[in-house]
Amino acid sequence: MKLLKLSILMNYFAIAKNSKRAIFIINIGIFLSIFALTAASISIYIENKVSNLEFEHLENSRAKSLSEKYTKMVIDYKNKIRQYKNLEGSFEQNLEFLRLNQFGKAVSSPNDLQTYALYDMVRDEKMMSEFVSVFTESEYNFLFEYDVFTDEEIKNLKNIAENIKKTFISLEKLNPIELESIIYQRSFRDLGEEIKSSISNKSRLKYLKDQGQFEEVYNETINLWEDLETLFEYLLRYFNGSLITVDENLKIINEEIIDLSNKEKNIILLAFLLQLLVFIIIQFFEISSVKIALKRGKKL
């Protein structure tokens, strides 16, 4: 079924009075549709730009959430090291307190103090070594990306990385099975021998940490904890630096998006005004020409 018969419409337009009114309405329609086209084109263009910014925003947001995750991890590791250091420190103090008399001296040995700390470190050695190699193996250090450290701190960090590397080389030489055996497989005879050895030990003035077969590597390990704590401190500052940078980037992107939206509104308004002006001018000339044509028609 035909909804619109063109012939009826044509007949309607054929009447001069109708045509004058219709042409005015159609001109308004054309004006509005051209304005709508301009507005749609501007929207497509601006929308495209905003989409690119949104992608950037997304990438920065991801970087931010990763940095936050790693910050939490670093804090956890730092706390773990601190807690372990405290436990070890208290135990050493208790042993030294016990060693103030002959009984304490007899029941405590360098192995009692040193082996568990070393064993614990050697067990994690592979993981820790991999982690530390990130800072020591390559010339490029990502920690310096955000410019959060002074020259002195950079120098200090390089020294720390070197020290850590050296300690890991010493730790690699230890035999974890031997350490495990000293901790978990002490026979009755072993314990007796240790007591005898402690009683007959003449080095009264030496602390337990400065005695025994693991003396050197144990003291290096104690320093390693300090160095790792400092390294984690640097890492924490790096992540804070990255968070600040990402936040600034996000702020800039947000401002750009708002700015583009405002520009979009203003451009559309300007386009409307310009087109309105053009429409009025065209309309003026068209109405004038129609009037002239009508006058000519009357004269004829």
């Binding site: 063109l6 086209l37 989409s51 002959q102």
Partner: protein, 297 residues
């Protein structure tokens, strides 16, 4: 030209009207399809996000159990030899180190301390088992999926063994180690007995155990600590596996976010393009009407 017929210009305009309308309709369809795709992507995103938060929670809980265990067991491991050495020294004391009434009283005091320590180890293991078992029970399917092949003992970590250390019996003076297991007070051994009977058994042990038996208790404690350490290691490695899985899921989640983002951009583009062609179609329609009017004027 006869009135009512269409000229070439009108036909071209009608063609443009039709073409723009078809394009507008086509882009409308694209919007519908993209919307459908976004809906599916959203569902996938939600599923991945749920799995990710589940995996992260499990890994964090495992780490927290491990850290708690580490903090509890490390002091015991550090002072592991002090009491047994003191006991041995008391037995062979030629220096009168200990300031008590007699070697017997000293021995009983030291025995009580050793017993307290091994019970402490057992109690802490029970606590860890309870925390781990709850986590395992709630997430059994995920645990099996992630770690069952690599660690068949997953369901039994930190579980009490009522007849333990079968391979290490030769390291004990008394091979019948149930006499030490009974000291720990498991329900299994004291099912029909009262608490006072357990207390009496412990007091009797403190009075009657000799140096050999206390050494066995020490050995028992160390083997128990070794077993806990092994289980802790499995738990830590399991946590690592969950972290690796989480990293994979995070990667997938990021991909989905990018897909969602790009689909949303496409959808906006399609909507705008569809509107654009609707307007173009309207414009050509108006131009068509205008051409009719100018033709008949």
């Amino acid at each position: 030209m006869r009135r009512g017929t269409l000229n070439r210009k009108s036909l071209i305009l009608i063609f443009f009207v039709a073409f723009s309308t078809i394009l507008s309709f086509g882009f409308d369809q694209m919007v519908i399809r993209t919307e459908d795709k976004i809906r599916n992507l959203n569902i996938e995103y939600q599923n991945i996000n749920n799995s990710l938060s589940k995996y992260e929670t499990i890994s964090e809980t495992l780490d927290s159990i491990s850290m708690g265990g580490g903090l509890n067991f490390t002091p015991i491991l550090l002072r592991r030899n002090l009491l047994i050495k003191s006991y041995i020294l008391n037995e062979v004391d030629t220096y009168n180190f200990l300031n008590r009434k007699s070697a017997e009283v000293n021995a009983q005091d030291l025995g009580r301390m050793m017993m307290k320590e091994i019970i402490e180890v057992t109690d802490m293991t029970i606590e860890i088992r309870s925390q781990y078992a709850q986590l395992h029970l709630i997430n059994e399917e995920i645990f099996n999926k992630i770690g069952k092949d690599k660690y068949p003992s997953l369901p039994y970590l930190f579980q009490a063994d009522f007849n333990p250390f079968k391979k290490d019996r030769d390291k004990f003076f008394d091979k019948n180690i149930i006499i030490y297991t009974k000291l720990l007070g498991f329900e299994h051994h004291w099912r029909d007995k009262t608490y006072s009977e357990l207390k009496k058994y412990r007091e009797k042990a403190i009075k009657e155990f000799s140096m050999r038996e206390w050494y066995d208790v020490y050995k028992y404690k160390m083997l128990l600590l070794k077993k806990i350490e092994n289980d802790m290691e499995i738990m830590d490695e399991l946590s690592e596996l969950f972290i690796l899985e989480s990293d994979d899921l995070l990667e997938k989640l990021n991909e989905k976010i990018s897909e969602l983002q790009s689909s949303n951009i496409k959808k906006n583009f399609y909507i705008l393009t569809s509107i654009f062609f609707q307007i173009v179609s309207l414009l050509f329609l108006l131009l068509l009407f205008r051409s009719f009017i100018t033709k008949f004027r």
